[in-house]
């Protein structure tokens, strides 16, 4: 036994019997003041002391010592060890600290027993002694803890609390309902597609005649998963729509979501119910769609269910991808290194991305050629969202701006009822079909930003942050399966939910710098054309920032795309300053620009390839330098004014 363990210590998790001498534990032993910082309405439900947090992807012989707590919002590890100063150049989230995980982000919990691990499911019995825990997150982060030095029972207490609170069985148990912080909405006049005028504006913007706004789904009588306002062919009466809807899965008849100025419309619909054998209703509705085209052209019907992955395919592929991107330890990392590309291929993740882009390019080309495109899929709530949004990004530059992108997600995902709650598993239900369909979309968008780096106003950091934020149970945006559920929560007389939008970035990121990093310095509005993305496999890359950022040794110190980004920001600042000078304003003179540049160059050595998500950065230097070197919002504004849409 002892032989086996001493062996496994080096190569694998030897939580129980590791050699104390070689264990490099940092942080001192005073555990007096290690309480997690709590939000209003947050409370601690369990706590374990003298817990070790292992360094990620290591041989698990290095760790930080601290206190681990479970609250009704997060799993929080607080260490005595001073945060190294370089950490502060990474993204500063005021809701979650570096070693915090929101409970909604927890995907799998493993008990570590010697060199084995056992998955613990909610409801399963927790063993009396828990010596080690491994937490695997939905965003691929991994944390491994040891309770070797903790008082007896602390490991078990934490595990129990975690299994109970990380997998709530009712929506009302999510922290959003308990969060008591006052909310000042900064996005009052944003477009949510909850009201008629939002759709009206969109119809007018795309100059689509032939379509009208219907209130047939008032109070969600027609379909519980669709918005109350629907855009349908002018020739369809409300009663016809209601009648037809009953024949479709989820009562989702064809509805308009976007159109080109030439009159080509993008329409999405569900499959007919399996009990319906004749297709009359579908054909009738498609005939209406045809008539709403200016030249009465036959629409192109794309069966997304046939060629695109199902949510189950997405989940299977994601789990394989995550195995590759979240290795348990150093040894596994090195084993994967041997045939990484083959394994990546067999995860089929890149194939899925390629398939979604391919289908979207086909649809976009058809629309560009003047044809109406009808997207049809099982429930019309998964791949329809992916393809409909991608088609619009490809064709219409408006959606490629920050505001446009937000609006697009609101329109195609939120109000059209992508079941975020089920897909992301916010509530633990056995019938949940978990699948990161939204991540497939974000990844496709990332591929576009790589192929067209000046066409998008937002950066990959924005996309990665958006994915992270989908697992924070404070924001309502990605918390519900449909608009109806949201409305019910808001109007619940017992505990009405305050809606906090994820798009209100100030709620998470107090540093303007972090939000400034969402804006692409290369963005130019002159890029107004249709994009022609490549979708064949060799052109699809792995999104390293999003998937590999938790593996510190993969960070390129002082290199990677953030270096280019920083350089371009400097360049943009310089140009803005010169333009300011020429406009005769009392803007910053030459010297200040030069100062900024010098500072930036200095700071650049700090910025690694996973910036701003890296926690290991480069050599520590004064971090404040970096902040100053970023063109704050002002500099960016002056430039984006020229680039602003409209």
């Amino acid at each position: 036994m002892s032989d086996k363990m001493s062996n496994s210590f080096k190569s694998y998790v030897g939580i129980e019997d590791y050699d104390l001498q070689s264990l490099n534990v940092s942080g001192d032993d005073s555990f007096s003041d290690l309480n997690p910082r709590l939000l209003t309405g947050e409370m601690v439900v369990a706590e374990a002391q003298k817990v070790l947090l292992f360094a990620p992807v290591s041989s698990n012989n290095k760790g930080k010592s601290g206190t681990l707590s479970v609250t009704n919002f997060k799993l929080s590890f607080v260490t005595t060890e001073e945060r190294s100063r370089e950490d502060t150049i990474s993204q500063q989230n005021c809701l979650l600290a570096e070693y915090d995980i929101c409970l909604s982000n927890v995907d799998m919990i493993y008990q570590i027993i010697g060199d084995k691990r056992r998955r613990l499911l909610p409801g399963s019995s927790v063993p009396d002694k828990v010596k080690g825990l491994c937490i695997l997150c939905k965003n691929m982060k991994v944390m491994q803890f040891s309770f070797k030095f903790s008082p007896v029972d602390h490991g078990k207490t934490i595990t129990n609390a975690l299994l109970h609170h990380a997998f709530p069985r009712r929506h009302q148990l999510l922290f959003a309902y308990d969060y008591r912080e006052q909310y000042y909405n900064c996005l009052q006049d944003a477009c949510w597609y909850r009201y008629e005028h939002d759709w009206k504006n969109e119809l007018e913007r795309s100059r689509c005649s032939g379509w009208r706004i219907s209130l047939a789904n008032e109070s969600f009588h027609l379909s519980t998963s669709m918005p109350q306002w629907l855009v349908v062919p002018v020739t369809v009466m409300d009663w016809q729509l209601t009648d037809a809807a009953r024949h479709f899965r989820g009562s989702r008849p064809p509805v308009w979501c976007w159109g080109t100025k030439q009159g080509a419309a993008l329409v999405r619909m569900a499959d007919l119910l399996p009990t319906i054998t004749e297709r009359t209703q579908e054909n009738t509705m498609l005939e209406h769609v045809r008539k709403s085209h200016p030249t009465r052209r036959q629409p192109l019907l794309l069966d997304l269910g046939k060629d695109l992955p199902t949510p189950r395919d997405v989940q299977t592929s994601f789990l394989k991808l995550r195995d590759l991107c979240a290795p348990d330890n150093l040894r596994q990392f090195q084993i994967q290194e041997k045939d990484f590309l083959t394994q990546l291929e067999s995860s089929r993740w890149l194939h899925l991305i390629s398939a979604c882009l391919h289908k979207s390019v086909d649809a976009a080309e058809a629309m560009q050629n003047g044809s109406t495109v009808v997207l049809q899929e099982f429930d019309g709530r998964d791949m329809c969202c992916v393809v409909a949004s991608l088609v619009q990004l490809i064709l219409d530059p408006y959606w490629r701006t920050c505001v446009g992108f937000r609006t697009l997600i609101q329109k195609e995902w939120i109000v059209m009822g992508h079941p975020f709650c089920s897909r992301l598993g916010h509530v633990y239900r056995s019938e949940n079909e978990l699948a990161p369909v939204f991540l497939i979309f974000l990844d496709c968008v990332w591929q576009l930003t790589q192929q067209f780096p000046s066409a998008f106003e937002f950066t990959e950091t924005f996309l990665t942050t958006l994915w992270d934020s989908a697992h924070v149970s404070i924001f309502d945006t990605f918390l519900f399966d449909c608009e109806r559920d949201r409305l019910l929560a808001v109007t619940d007389p017992h505990n009405p939910l305050v809606l906090r939008s994820v798009w209100d970035w100030g709620e998470q990121f107090p540093e303007p710098r972090d939000v400034a990093l969402f804006t692409n310095p290369l963005f130019t509005c002159s890029e107004r054309r249709m994009l022609r993305p490549r979708w064949v496999l060799p052109d699809i890359s792995l999104w390293t920032q999003c998937y590999l950022r938790w593996i510190p040794m993969l960070e390129i110190r002082g290199g990677g795309h953030p270096q280019v980004d920083l350089y371009l920001r400097m360049l943009v600042v310089e140009i803005a300053a010169i333009q300011g000078q020429m406009a005769g304003s009392s803007g910053p003179g030459d010297s200040r620009v030069a100062d900024k540049l010098a500072v930036g160059v200095d700071a650049a050595t700090l910025v690694g390839s996973f910036f701003p998500f890296s926690r290991s950065g480069g050599a520590a230097t004064a971090q404040s330098q970096l902040f100053n070197s970023f063109p704050g919002e002002h500099a960016l504004d002056s430039l984006s004014l020229q680039n602003a849409p409209d």
């Binding site: 890149l350 290369l522 022609r532 060799p538 040794m553």
Partner: protein, 656 residues
Amino acid sequence: MDRKSASDLLNVENSHSKHASTDSLASDSKSSSLNSKLGQESVSSSKGSPSKSYCSSSSTSTENVVSTLESKVKGKQVNVTESGPPSRPDDPPLLPGEKVQGMAREVTYLCPYSGPARGTLSVTNYKLYFRSMDRETPYVVDVPLGVVSRIEKVGGASSRGENSYGIEVFCKDMRNLRFAHKQENHSRRNVFEKLQQFAFPLSHKLPLFAFEYTESFSENGWTVHEPIAELKRMGVPNDMWKISKLNESHEVCDSYPSVWAVPAAATDEDLRAVAQFRSRGRVPVLSWIHQESQATISRCSQPLVGVSGKRSTADERYIQLIMDANAQSHKLFIMDARPSANAIANKAKGGGYESEDAYQNAELVFLDIHNIHVMRESLRKLKELCFPNIEESRWLSGLESTFWLKHIKCILAGAVRIVDKVENHKTSVLVHCSDGWDRTAQLTALAMLMLDPYYRTIRGFEVLIEKEWLSFGHKFQQRIGHGDDHHSDADRSPVFLQFIDCVWQITQQYPNAFEFNDYFLITILDHLYSCRFGTFLFNSERERVAESVKQRTVSLWSFTNSTIDAYRNPLYWAGGMQQQVLVPVASMRHIKLWKGHYCRWNPSMRSQDPICQRTRELLVLKDQLERQVEECRRELQARVARNVATPPRLASPTHS
């Protein structure tokens, strides 16, 4: 408004190259010479990098597009070509010293991507040139004969079926070309013979084209690397290191440079004695020295240990001198590039490796890099995968099964280990493999590139190649097989290509640390084979001196440095303070296939580099704005000066 004028400027450029790209897409989409890789680049530019549409000196009308950014530098060169304009449209454009040797009409080029095209095939003493007028725009294939590795006849007198009778040309640059001849024209024999003669001039007792090429350039590339000046740049000679001219006539080691930097305490006798104990006399000599810590990188060949485990006190003492020259560390790492099994096997042939018993305080590390034969085989598989078409669904696993990227990773990882020892542990490193001219050159050159920002400039990189590869006797002649027809020669191997690939990998990880772009790297590789310049000819400095290469041929660096703007990386952070030491991550999670090089003949695989394009636009804009500001300032000063000179009289009433 100012912005507008700048973008107008850029639009002009855009529209130009768009024009070009559509043309060349229709016509010469894949083909082309070295330089019209450019033509090819311009195709990709329809997707966004027009300014990469550098035209070649052998420009056809379709390729003859000069982007605004490069027009200045290119102009001269184009003129040279125009000085001898072709009389008929079928005639190939010629370089100075180039002559047409044969021509065949009604030949069909079988393009694997765009299908057959009928036209005229010419052979010169430099290139094969095919031109088709079949389509709306002329279609050109322009390939220097230096890249040809073998030529075969396809089909015989009994061949039936369209395009089944002709010639197939196998190239060293990841492509093959097929031409079909009409049997009744009897044109094949002549073309075949001319191709054989001029693709393999050495096998036919003809000179390499470099010795006939007479173009002159504004810069003389032969002066780029001055060995003593380069050593001085690194602070040598100093207390611990001296410059030795013991090998001035290449007599101690015929594959080494004439100038060495060696430990100051080593006598000539020591050096001669050490040479006796090192394979082919390749003594440990300084490659690079850390300015502050004095930690060094030295290189050599394997010790002649043999099965009996011979020792040489001279060699042991000399290694100690190298260690002692670095006061910061009492250790020395000997990095043996080979897998340990190969190193052991070499004992049977009289070679081997340093035993740690004999070399006190030295630690031996095997870097596990395979030999030239393994690398050649790997590239052969890669070519099979990439040309002409790729099997898309099994792309990644297919790529992995070639092991090409794994070899690249291994070389990079080795160089990173050297960098780590030198930079972080302030310890000197001695690098060798068997002979010390293949893997050793890869490792020392890469480590130097990572350690020293100078080598990341265009001229610095040229120096690096001249020094670590050319002067230290990487056998370019043997590895490439310039001008000879032994295509299956076991000495051929893509060692230098691997080095350039590794450099490209580092540029991908550190996109703003290099002054040059990947077009510079591709240009170097193109002329590695082309035999247009003397740079990569012969196996050693001694041979090049004997053949008066500097006097009789043009240096590749004369060509590149005369058009240097084309090779600049717009993302280069010339602030001077950027990351001094680069430590790329050698993981399969980061190593990528250089599609822009290996898949460049496939029009559907052309990589785009839109970031560089947009950055270039911004730089142009900034440049223009700065000039405007400068003008304004000068005007303002002039006005102030006038005012001071003639004080306005009306303003004279005083308030005193």
